[in-house]
Symmetry: C3
Subunit: 141 residues, 3 copies
């Protein structure tokens, strides 16, 4: 059994949606030696998320941000957790909606994603800082 576990620190991004497939794979060169496997990712934060979606059009990334801001509004009258700023509680909800973890197949040393799929860093805070991702991969010898 092959096994790999490593904490990855992503470079800081501004609020919004960002493709990070290449940055994650560059931090895990051993994956190229896996004939098959799974790559599990956990973002160790509660106001950012990970998702898999379209890797081609920047408009798709913008529209994700617009829809989420519309659907999980800042300064809504029902928020009680407001101490950490207006972007904080919506960021928690957005993080849970899109999710904090991914488990993606690996085949022939590469992620077995669809042609148009990439990994999104979903940064929901105005000043999120650099984000840590615990990457774990396993597979047969």
């Amino acid at each position: 059994m092959r096994w790999l576990q490593r904490l990855i620190k992503l470079t800081q991004r501004e609020r919004g949606f960002h493709l990070v497939t290449d940055e994650i794979l560059d931090a895990l060169p051993e994956l190229r030696e896996f004939p098959a496997g799974i790559l599990n990712l956990l973002i160790q934060h509660t106001s950012a998320g990970l998702a898999v979606n379209e890797n081609a059009s920047p408009e798709v990334l913008w529209d994700f941000e617009t829809w989420l801001d519309h659907t999980v509004p800042e300064r809504a009258p029902y928020w009680t957790h407001t101490l950490e700023g207006p972007d904080d509680m919506p960021a928690h909800i957005k993080s849970a909606l899109l999710g904090s973890t991914l488990a993606l197949p690996v085949a022939d040393g590469r992620l077995a994603l669809g042609t148009w799929q990439g990994i999104y860093l979903c940064e929901h805070r105005d000043q999120g800082g650099p984000r840590s991702i615990m990457a774990t991969a396993w597979g047969p010898d």
Copy 2:
């Protein structure tokens, strides 16, 4: 360690929610030999999704579609990614909300789901075509 990885092509479905548990298991007969394990599924598309939910009432499937259409509306004024038709950008959002991957336990050669749980194909496009799922399973000998 047992290991199984196979690309499954689902038969084409119309827009909406569809139970595909049996179709997926029929494509993976080796799972019956796993004393324990995990089955990971990735749908290799960005406008369809996978979810686990109620396997009995067709009304539940319809209400999923109705709620999503209400909450992620087509032709909203804020969409910028409209080139691929009015159903495309909402389909990306819906896919990310419900998720593209599942990791389900296997015990005694069967999915260890709850009594009322089944696997949903969430088809968010009017003409989605057949969908590909990369299935990966592993477990002890």
Copy 3:
């Protein structure tokens, strides 16, 4: 390869969001012997969910419930699945939005979560009863 699979019965909680990290880990004492691994959890119900989010402020838990109740309303005119009570169909949607499964990294015998992360039981029914979770963990020797 290490392998552990066990059905956990959580104590019954009222409707809302509840931190259950300690209750789950207490049911899996063997995890402390895993040098590395993954813990997969499936809640075997379609009207409750599992999520990872903030483990410190009770206000965050309340605001999750408030936002979900606002966004997936009971007694909306479009529901057709109303036979099991007004809280049932919204509970199915909420369960699928936040998800039924988690796959969390283990390092040095502990969950490798971020400082502020904990596991939420998301109880979406008024009388959900005790909830069953199938826990599966694996890792290298």
